[in-house]
Amino acid sequence: MTAIETSALKPADRPRRRGINLEKWGWIYMRASGVVLIVLIFGHLFMNLMVGDGVKAIDFGFVGGKWADPFWQWWDVLMLWLALIHGANGMRTIVNDYTNPGVVQKVLKGALFAAAAVLIILGTLVVFTFEPCPVGAPADLLPSFCAA
């Protein structure tokens, strides 16, 4: 407050809010995450739908084979975080557009936040606690390296 009075700022520069501008960082995040997500999601879809027999090849053993490699574990976790935050933040924009401030808006945003938080935690745990060779499971359902 006080410092501004003494300086000769141009009017356009004067009314600055203090602190970080969350909307601006949200705007930047949507763009930065979008660029990375193109690579991650196109790569995901290519590996899972185009290579080999595509969807037909996906089963428990397929996932086991992919997540045996830390590269794909981190690929998926990064995709999980970036996509859910991007999507939930985009949905927040849409809620802002179609609802008025009030209880309904708060509930919707709370639900978005909760869904994103729960699924990020769940998805991350799933990738890193995955057990490719659960004991007692039929061997023909498991990745081939379980036999060894």
């Binding site: 763009r31 979008g34 660029v35 997500l37 193109i38 999601i41 196109f42 879809l45 739908l49 185009m50 027999d53 595509g54 969807v55 037909k56 996906i58 089963d59 428990f60 053993g61 996932v63 999980l80 996509a83 859910l84 999507g87 939930a88 985009g90 949905m91 849409i94 869904a115 699924l119 769940l122 998805g123 745990l125 799933v126 606690t129 995955f130 057990e131 659960p134 499971a137 039929p138 359902l141 498991l142």
Partner: protein, 140 residues
């Protein structure tokens, strides 16, 4: 400067009702790209919610996961996957267009052209994807 060259997407049946003064936006490429971007974003979001839950079944049992992922391999879901990929490819390319328009003044001036480039890239990508995917789904 309302110009008509690329108006096919919204060509009105009657001689064009005069657009509200001063807007180049309503009912033209700008609006359609925005509507589609929004709809595809919402659709992908809800797919992702379900998708993380179905993937989480790998922590339940191989049988549970295989049962659910097996539904991804049916013909109807196969067609749904074409729609999903179509939505993502549009959202992704159009998202890139938005980013270019925001940060690059040439793109800001040529955003209509860029919209048609997005459509063209979408068509090319889908032509590459769809036949192969449908062959996978409908054979084997």
């Amino acid at each position: 400067m309302p110009e008509t060259s690329a108006g096919t997407l919204t060509t009105p049946a009657k001689p064009a009702k005069q657009k509200p003064g001063g807007t180049l936006y309503r009912g033209r490429e700008g609006m359609w790209s925005w509507v589609l971007h929004r709809i595809t974003g919402v659709a992908i979001f809800f797919f992702l919610l379900v998708h993380i839950l179905d993937t989480a079944l790998v922590r339940v049992s191989p049988e549970a996961y295989n049962a659910v992922i097996g539904t991804y391999q049916t013909p109807i879901m196969g067609l749904g996957e074409v729609a999903l990929v179509g939505a993502i490819v549009f959202h992704a390319f159009n998202g890139l267009r938005i980013i270019l328009v925001d940060f690059w003044s040439w793109a800001t001036r040529h955003q209509k052209v860029l919209f048609w480039i997005v459509i063209a890239l979408w068509v090319v990508t889908m032509l590459a994807f769809t036949p192969r995917h449908l062959i996978n789904v409908f054979s084997h």
